[in-house]
């Protein structure tokens, strides 16, 4: 039950109260609608529990490269923290996150193939609000999907 990873070197912090924050059900519904409207690969998009949603899952009818299907699991908090977690039928994962994390930038990226907890990279997504972050994540997915590779998925600039 101890913190995993970076051992005891971290100095104790005064304020650990809100590392992610309560999930914003309204934001999840908004993200769901944005994904469904914008992304033709969406097969279904649903909240894990409509009354008490913690996660929005968006099922896609195809995945990056050789994956035949994929899914985004999405969380968004009242304080604007978020996690967009991609996983596909080949068990490859990546995650665009924004939340406080020791020894990492608030906006960070867990790279494929396994989106491991550490190390992470700074995220290429700098916009903050729901409509913009959702569009940016979809754009990065679309770019990788069209190029059939995860290479450059966390690059802000599209290759020519």
């Amino acid at each position: 039950m101890t913190e995993r990873g970076n051992g005891g070197s971290r100095q104790p912090q005064a304020d650990h109260r809100e590392v992610f924050g309560p999930i914003d059900a309204g934001a999840l519904r908004e993200i769901r609608d944005l994904f469904v409207d914008a992304e033709p690969l969406v097969k279904s998009a649903s909240l894990d529990d409509p009354l008490n949603p913690q996660t929005l899952s968006v099922e896609l009818s195809d995945g990056v490269g050789s994956a035949a299907s994929s899914r985004f699991d999405i969380r968004w908090s009242l304080s604007g923290n978020y996690a967009f977690h991609y996983t596909d039928q080949q068990n490859r994962d990546f995650r665009f996150d924004c939340h406080p994390k020791p020894d990492a930038p608030t906006r960070h990226f867990h790279p494929p193939p396994d989106a491991s907890s550490r190390p992470v990279e700074p995220s290429c997504i700098a916009v903050r609000d729901v409509p913009l972050v959702t569009r940016a994540v979809r754009q990065r997915f679309r770019d990788a999907y069209d190029r059939e590779t995860f290479d450059g998925i966390n690059d802000a600039e599209n290759p020519p």
């Binding site: 912090q13 914003d24 309204g26 008490n52 802000a156």
Partner: protein
């Protein structure tokens, strides 16, 4: 492109003067797809901590004058509530609007019976956390732990607990709205004569 000239100071990119990147592209797309009013509404809908019209204007990619105009409309509609900070008016989403949005979404997706049983489930879940961790509230739970990493297991429980507490309150409010609506007391279409006579032509 009118709003793009202001865009660079709204977010940080690594290089500065690089060709359009994903952030600039999605801002341009959003501005293209929406009206200024829709953008102000979209931003203030997720603004729970009071912010100035100027800040909301920057986030919505509109001018401060435009933001102020639309924010006044949203205040009149009950969507937004204001506070004063010195001479500055600060805006945030109103509690009423939060409850209304949530209630509409729930009642679209679930029957009152399903909502009632969901409320019972959430209460049970909270009771189980209290007993498992031997604390009364998520705040007390947080104080007993050293949670600095949102990816850790305890941080996950903490988030879920606080989320459940909020959704429980919202579900109870939604059910109360549904019950009041069903009886017709709200619209004056009930059989009692004590309802407000706001609309004499209401279809009975």
């Amino acid at each position: 492109m009118t709003d793009e000239s202001r865009a660079p100071n709204l977010y940080r990119t690594d290089g500065g003067d690089e060709p359009p990147d994903v952030n600039e592209a999605v801002v341009a797309e959003w501005v293209e797809d929406t009206t200024p009013f829709e953008r102000v509404h979209a931003i203030v809908r997720r603004t729970y901590d009071p912010e100035s019209a100027g800040t909301i204007a920057e986030r919505a990619r509109v001018s401060p004058t435009t933001a102020r105009k639309h924010l006044r409309t949203l205040v009149d509609a009950g969507e937004v509530t204001t506070t004063q900070d010195g001479g500055t008016t600060l805006y945030r989403r109103s509690e009423t609007a939060i409850v209304t949005e949530h209630a509409q979404a729930l009642l679209d997706e679930r029957t009152p019976e399903e909502i009632a049983s969901g409320i019972a489930e959430m209460k049970t879940t909270v009771r189980e956390w209290r007993s498992e961790y031997d604390v009364e509230s998520p705040e007390e739970f947080a104080r007993t732990l050293d949670i600095a990493d949102a990816d850790s297991e305890h941080a996950g429980v903490l988030t879920e607990w606080r989320t459940t507490r909020r959704n429980l309150a919202l579900a109870e409010a939604a059910l109360a709205i549904e019950e009041a609506s069903r009886t017709g007391h709200l619209s004056g279409t009930d059989t009692d004569d004590e309802g407000p006579n706001s609309d004499a032509s209401a279809i009975v």
